[in-house]
């Protein structure tokens, strides 16, 4: 056997193994993602209540969506929640990661404690935050009252319900902290040493070394955080069911309601496409802005 044919056999064997090992994901992706995606395309042009055969309605669902005030209200709520959750979440978790990256005693314990909320079940989180945000008996308003501030109605107030949910969204951001910590530990110490030799103080080192070096990680967390926030609805369903007065009716919850409460599958599929467009649009904007502030490698 020549060396060339041996390499060919090895390459084929490696290729076979590659496809074999990736096949569980590929099969799952085709069946459970590509399938529903294609179905959602077709369903968005149909009327289907699960009990009768689907009927073709052309663009009627899209026309209905454009003229549906609750849809636009849900888009507004979704963007408000997404922007708030990402802004607060990314900032807060970054600061927390900076603290957890310090060489302290019990560092492992602190990191574990900060990660713990991520493994708490959704129901427990919802009940906990219902209590924390309660206008009369909640922890936040009690603290505010102790310094003479009358807290808002949070989830019982149309104006404060989304901010309340945004506060809750920071809970359980352990995964983001882990990503930040990995990023922070990847910054070469030589850069800090060089900055120190140049006379940089802690703020200059943070602003001119840490932030630029972490910018791809921050960007990743912003993008994926936004995508997750734009799709989130489960805790909102449990906590407010979209109320009060539709103030927390986010698009994901609106889709859920049409699909699995009203069984209006065609319209729900149309709304799902709207969510996809929203996610793509927001992500595209983020990528276009990223050129101004995200630094890759040592460019």
């Amino acid at each position: 056997m020549t060396a060339v044919s041996a390499r060919g056999t090895l390459a084929r064997r490696e290729a076979r193994r590659f496809y074999l090992f990736t096949s569980p994901w590929t099969i799952g992706f085709v069946l459970f993602s590509v399938g529903p995606i294609l179905a959602a395309v077709v369903l968005s042009f149909m009327k289907w209540n699960l009990l009768q055969s689907p009927t073709w309605v052309g663009l009627a669902n899209y026309e209905r969506m454009v003229n549906d005030p609750e849809f636009w209200e849900s888009i507004g709520n979704t963007v408000e929640y997404g922007a708030g959750a990402v802004a607060l979440g990314v900032t807060f978790t970054f600061l927390l990661a900076l603290l957890l990256n310090q060489p302290l005693r019990f560092q492992g314990l602190f990191r574990t404690v900060m990660y713990l909320p991520s493994v708490v079940s959704g129901l427990a989180t919802a009940l906990l935050w219902l209590n924390i945000l309660h206008p009369d008996y909640g922890l936040i308003n009690k603290v505010l009252a102790s310094i003479g501030i009358q807290g808002p109605g949070w989830l019982a107030s149309q104006e404060w319900a989304i901010p309340g949910l945004v506060l809750m969204s920071v809970w359980g951001a352990g995964n983001t902290i882990v990503i930040y910590l990995a990023g922070l530990q990847g910054i070469p110490k030589t850069l800090y040493e060089a900055a120190e030799i140049d006379g940089a103080g802690w703020w200059r080192r943070f602003w001119s070394v840490t932030v630029p070096m972490m910018s791809p990680v921050i960007f990743f967390n912003v993008v994926t955080g936004f995508i997750a926030a734009l799709q989130s609805y489960v805790l909102i369903l449990v906590m407010t069911e979209g109320g009060p007065g539709n103030a927390t009716m986010v698009l994901g919850l609106y889709i859920y309601r049409h699909a699995f409460v009203y069984f209006d599958m065609g319209y729900a599929a149309t709304l799902s496409w709207a969510m996809f467009v929203l996610v793509i649009a927001v992500t595209a904007i983020q990528f276009s802005l990223a050129r101004r502030w995200v630094h890759y490698e040592f460019k």
């Binding site: 959602a40 209540n49 009369d136 993008v223 995508i227 997750a228 109320g243 889709i255 699909a259 990528f287």
Partner: protein, 475 residues
């Protein structure tokens, strides 16, 4: 090909965005949190089903003491399996298993496969199964679901089976509470429970206030006046005069509006009537009771109290709720309570008769066996065996109330109300009922928050609900 970090990031983002597209197919994440029942993952010995609550010996003794009704519907000649889909809690599942155990002894050719799903997931699960043509033979139905299933020809009418069952005794079931399960003169469901709403009161709070207990002479005016008097305190010490605040729920008309001659929707559920003076004035009065008198729990207060009802926790003097809560009230010792008829209005006294049902799927391959099961399960003996707190069969009330510790006078009161005036009239049941409620509630919540006046709220409600009602047209 090696990707640089930017390309890798783009790929990761694209992969993360994919679920948005499949949201329609993937978004069945249930509100398991709020599910009122458990899925019943406990292990029940099929040869001797029992628990601390339901000892086997007691079940066997009770089963033997009861007379099980007959039907001319023939037992299957060979073994058949029927599938039952209920929504029950873990405790009740044991009793159901005991029922099945003895049922199989009476009908050796009928095997039972039982499924259970939490209430909040039940309809979604079985609508999906209906789409796949795999509905169980017999399934639970909330009163607000059945008309949609009938309209879509998913259910089997039961009249022919009832006709073959001389002992069925239809008169034992309140006829004016069957409207949810009827269409074009045919009956598609047999109620699993049925009860009216009552006016409950906390005797301790009335004694403390030195006021007389509510009684049959009470009018709604008297209720409003007393609710204001009984309201006291603040924060954790607050006592509400009355609970709950009315909202555009399926029984809004029957409980709150019809005594004044008002309605939320007309009887055909094709027209919004809540802006008309009789209904409008009632809604305005309740809004005043909430916003001015603070005598009803607000949205904020209800949020925390969702799991701890104000009345059940001793924080409300008056309580408008179904007779089914008597079981829970009877078990608690924190305060003394009583119940009486709903107050009278200028147009008399009304209360809804509501309950769930068992239905048979039209696609069932074992309809005879399915009916035999339904018949026995929902017979007076079946109700007595299962110790249901609000049996639809009125002849089971007395025995069950006694067994469950519900005071005899309260049980008699319920029977009297069911016989006299409890009715399905005014209770929303047509296919759009859930959408109607979901459309109207957010508007009413804004009124409850004081963001919008009652007239504007009701007008907006009428404007938004009216187009939804077209979905109630059944071919």
């Amino acid at each position: 090909m090696e990707m640089n970090r930017r390309q890798m990031l783009a790929l990761a983002v694209a992969a993360a965005a994919m679920p948005a597209l499949s949201a329609c197919g993937d978004s069945r994440q249930s509100k398991q949190a709020a599910a009122p029942v458990k899925s019943g993952a406990q292990v029940i010995d099929p040869n001797r089903p029992a628990s601390d609550d339901w000892p086997f010996e007691e079940a066997e003794q009770l089963n033997n003491s009861l007379t099980w009704p007959k039907t001319d519907v023939p037992d299957p000649a060979s073994k058949v399996v029927i599938t039952l889909a209920f929504t029950t809690d873990a405790v009740t599942e044991v009793r159901n298993a005991q029922f099945d155990f003895f049922f199989k002894k009476r009908h050796p050719n009928i095997e039972i496969k039982r499924e259970s799903a939490p209430f909040d997931q039940f309809l979604t699960k079985y609508m999906a199964q209906a789409a796949g043509g795999t509905l169980p033979d017999v399934l639970y139905n909330h009163y607000s679901w059945t008309q949609n299933l009938i309209a879509n020809k998913v259910l089997q009418p039961l009249d022919d089976y009832i006709a073959k069952t001389p002992e069925f005794d239809m008169n034992d079931i309140p006829q004016h509470g069957l409207g949810y399960f009827k269409r074009d003169g045919k009956l598609y469901g047999l109620p699993t429970d049925m009860a009216p709403k009552l006016l409950f009161y906390n005797k301790d709070l009335f004694d403390k206030a030195g006021l007389k207990y509510p009684d049959e002479s009470w009018t709604w005016d008297k209720l409003f006046e007393t609710a204001k008097k009984m309201t006291s305190g603040s924060g954790a010490e607050k006592i509400y005069g009355v609970s709950p605040m009315p909202k555009p729920a399926p029984d809004l008309s029957s409980v709150y509006l019809m005594p004044y001659g008002g309605r939320f929707l007309d009887a055909a559920e094709s027209k919004v009537m809540i802006t008309e003076p009789n209904a409008r004035d009632v809604m305005a009065r309740w809004l005043d009771l909430l916003l001015k008198d603070k005598a009803v729990p607000s949205l904020a207060e209800l949020q925390l109290l969702e799991k701890v009802d104000p009345f059940k926790s001793g924080h409300a003097a008056l309580f408008l709720n179904g007779a089914w809560v008597m079981l829970e009230l009877s078990k608690q010792k924190a305060f003394k309570w009583g119940a009486t008829q709903m107050p009278k209005g200028p147009q008399g006294r009304t209360t809804p008769a509501v309950g769930s049902a068992l239905v048979m799927s039209a696609s069932s391959q074992n309809k005879d066996a399915a009916f035999i099961y339904m018949h026995e399960y929902l017979s007076a003996s079946g109700y007595k065996f299962r110790r249901i707190a609000a049996p639809a069969r009125q002849s089971a009330w007395e025995d069950n109330a006694k067994a469950l510790g519900i005071p005899a006078e309260e049980a008699d009161l319920v029977k009297k109300i069911m016989a006299d005036y409890a009715s399905d009239d005014g209770v929303l049941r047509l296919p759009a009922n859930k959408k109607v409620v979901d459309t109207a509630v957010p508007i009413w919540e804004r009124a409850q928050l004081g963001k919008i006046g009652v007239d504007d709220a009701l007008k907006e409600m009428a404007g938004k609900v009216t187009p939804v009602l077209s979905e109630n047209k059944i071919a």
